[in-house]
């Protein structure tokens, strides 16, 4: 039971991170129709900025500011330089152009920050753990991560449903020409949404940096998972991103805990160990395949 609750919390924490990335990605896709592979790179840029800022200043708050500024600005630069030319192009070209940007960003980050990945400690006020239940201590940093994820979800809901910007975003997703004809500068709106996606990546980066290894390639791994999340949830829908992120987080967390045990009952240990390692990594892709077979547009598509 304790193990189950711990794994559920782990799943929530992973889900929170995936949601921060997936919500931005799905907005960008839903509104602009662009497959943005650089989303993972923005997350990596955020993590690197945070880690090196904390190393220099010793303050976690400075780290947060650096991550948000770094990832947000880089997102705007990318949008202005490359992505804005891709809005009306075939997905194939979007994939290719942003793939090129990933390669460029990886190399540029390793040139700027050095080959050796920076380490980032958990800030003092988030160290230690909390007794969630009798017999279950859970790290405070991970709980904070879940909390930030929740705040982002509420904040995005307010932003999209109850502000003028959100109204324009929803309108832009529905009918680009009409919004433009009503006198809204759609170009600027797009740049803004892209920057917002960048900010969320930066936030995910700074929260993940103390927990995961900050390294080149961290972006691609999480990017592919993020795509799985938005495809499961339904491309273009923030609610879908939330459901998808939680589902993928849970499947990953619970799979990691219970799949090896289950297989060990069925198979000899040596085979079970190697097989379960592969199956755990593949489990979310199996989930995605199943969801797409039942509902090709995802669980909660933006438009039916």
């Amino acid at each position: 039971m304790i193990l189950l609750i711990e794994q559920v919390l782990n799943g929530l924490q992973y889900g929170a991170m995936l949601f921060m990335l997936a919500s931005g990605l799905t907005l960008i896709f839903g509104i602009m129709g662009v497959i943005n592979l650089t989303h993972g790179s923005l997350y990596m840029v955020g993590a690197y900025c945070a880690a090196s800022a904390v190393l220099q200043s010793g303050s976690f708050l400075v780290g947060i500011a650096a991550a948000l500024a770094g990832a947000g600005l880089y997102a705007v630069v990318i949008e202005l330089a490359v992505v804005q030319w891709l809005y009306r192009r075939d997905h194939l070209y979007q994939v290719l152009a942003t793939l090129g940007l990933i390669l460029f960003t990886n190399e540029a980050v390793s040139l700027i920050f050095g080959r050796r990945p920076p380490l980032m400690d958990i800030p003092p006020f988030l160290q230690g753990s909390v007794t969630v239940l009798p017999g279950l201590d859970y790290p405070l940093m991970r709980l904070a991560f879940i909390g930030v994820g929740g705040l982002v979800a509420v904040g995005l809901w307010l932003l999209v449903n109850h502000t003028r910007l959100g109204m324009l975003v929803r309108a832009g997703a529905d009918d680009r020409e009409m919004v433009s004809a009503l006198g809204v500068d759609i170009r600027r709106l797009y740049t803004l949404v892209f920057g917002l996606g960048g900010l969320l990546c930066g936030l995910a980066g700074v929260m993940a940096a103390p927990l995961l290894a900050v390294e080149i390639g961290m972006g691609e791994r999480v990017l592919i998972t993020t795509f799985v999340v938005i495809v499961i949830g339904g491309v273009g829908s923030i609610r879908g991103a939330l459901v998808g992120a939680l589902l993928v987080g849970m499947v990953d967390g619970l799979g990691r805990a219970y799949l090896p045990q289950g297989l060990q009952m069925l198979l000899p240990p040596s085979v079970a160990d190697t097989l379960s390692a592969g199956l755990v990594s593949a489990s979310i892709y199996v989930l995605m395949a199943i969801v797409l077979l039942v509902r090709p547009l995802g669980l909660l598509p933006a438009r039916s």
Partner: protein, 323 residues
């Protein structure tokens, strides 16, 4: 006029490929033969991918899985033939005439399953689900500890063909060239057949094609399987060329590379992707020899190709499709 120019270009390209081994013999750098051989092998995969992206508008972001599967079938059979214990009671063989068709069969069967599932979707979902299947294959290959896991598998020696000695680098090179020419010719026949025309009709307007009484699914599935078999053949040849297979053969970056090559060469031209492969691999070689940070140049090159190279290198020449 364009027709003559086109024929001239094909003959010139073919002559260049044929001339590589004599040129190396006459004092050229031996590394040139390896480079040209890598181009030939990747070109087979690129032509295959063009068949579905260029003619069928099925943007597969997971084609490296077939490259990896083809390679690993060769690797695994070789592992059991030399040294390892029998595989399900079969002691293995080194005969290319058995191993290669087996590898292609594996690719075809898996493509049949993957295609049947993925082709229920289209657009961005199709791109992502093909990527997801490729990732599954990748993780399974990584978890195969007896076959080296992350590190991959060394092959003792190349497969054997009757009458032809594949151990010689030049013989192997000419075999790859012959297979590339044959496969491109087969693909050209397919594209111009009724089947190929239906495929292109589906790309241009699915609705119109359906109203003409065409069921899209079987055509798309068949094209997907054919393309997978071609990519598998490239994987088989790569395993024999490098005598080494790793899970990286099925990595998502490899799928991206194939896609970049096809776009660079020109979508829907078949011959364009061969030129694209040559340019891509030569550029990679040049840049990586120049600096270890070559990705900082290669990345923007890909981006520029996507932004401006609407018809690729050969699009104008070979009359590829416009987007």
């Amino acid at each position: 006029m364009r027709r003559t120019l086109r024929t001239m270009t094909i003959l010139l390209g073919l002559a260049l490929f044929v001339a590589v081994p004599p040129a190396v013999d006459a004092g050229g750098s031996p590394a040139l033969l390896g480079l040209a051989n890598r181009i030939l092998i990747y070109a087979i995969a690129a032509v295959s991918l063009d068949l579905i992206i260029g003619y069928g508008a099925m943007v597969s972001f997971g084609h490296a899985m077939f490259f990896g599967l083809g390679g690993y079938t060769v690797g695994i059979v070789a592992y059991h033939t030399f040294g390892g214990e029998p595989l399900l009671g079969w002691s293995g063989t080194n005969a290319a005439l058995i191993v290669w068709p087996l590898a292609l069969l594996v690719c075809a069967l898996i493509a049949l399953v993957v295609g049947a599932l993925t082709l229920r979707t289209s657009g961005v979902q199709f791109i992502m689900i093909t990527l997801a299947f490729a990732q599954m294959v990748f993780f399974v290959l990584v978890s195969l500890q007896i076959y080296g896991g992350d590190d991959g598998l060394m092959l003792e020696r190349r497969n054997q063909l009757p009458l032809i000695d594949l151990a010689g680098p030049q013989t192997f090179y000419y075999l790859c060239l012959a297979l590339l020419v044959a496969w491109t010719a087969i693909c050209a026949l397919i594209v111009n057949s009724r089947f190929g025309l239906v495929l292109q009709a589906l790309r241009q307007s699915e609705r119109r094609a359906i109203n003409l009484g065409i069921r899209p699914f079987p055509f798309r599935l068949a094209a997907f399987v054919i393309s997978a078999v071609g990519t598998g053949l490239a994987g088989v040849l790569w395993a024999n060329y490098a005598r080494f297979v790793t899970p990286d053969m099925a990595a998502w970056s490899k799928s991206g590379e194939f896609m970049a090559i096809v776009v660079l060469g020109g979508l829907g031209t078949l011959l364009g992707p061969i030129a694209g492969t040559a340019v891509f691999i030569a550029l990679e070689q040049l840049l990586s020899a120049w600096t270890e940070h070559w990705m900082i140049v290669m990345g923007p090159v890909l981006t520029l190709v996507a932004l401006f190279g609407r018809r690729g290198i050969a699009g104008r020449l070979f009359g590829g499709r416009r987007d």
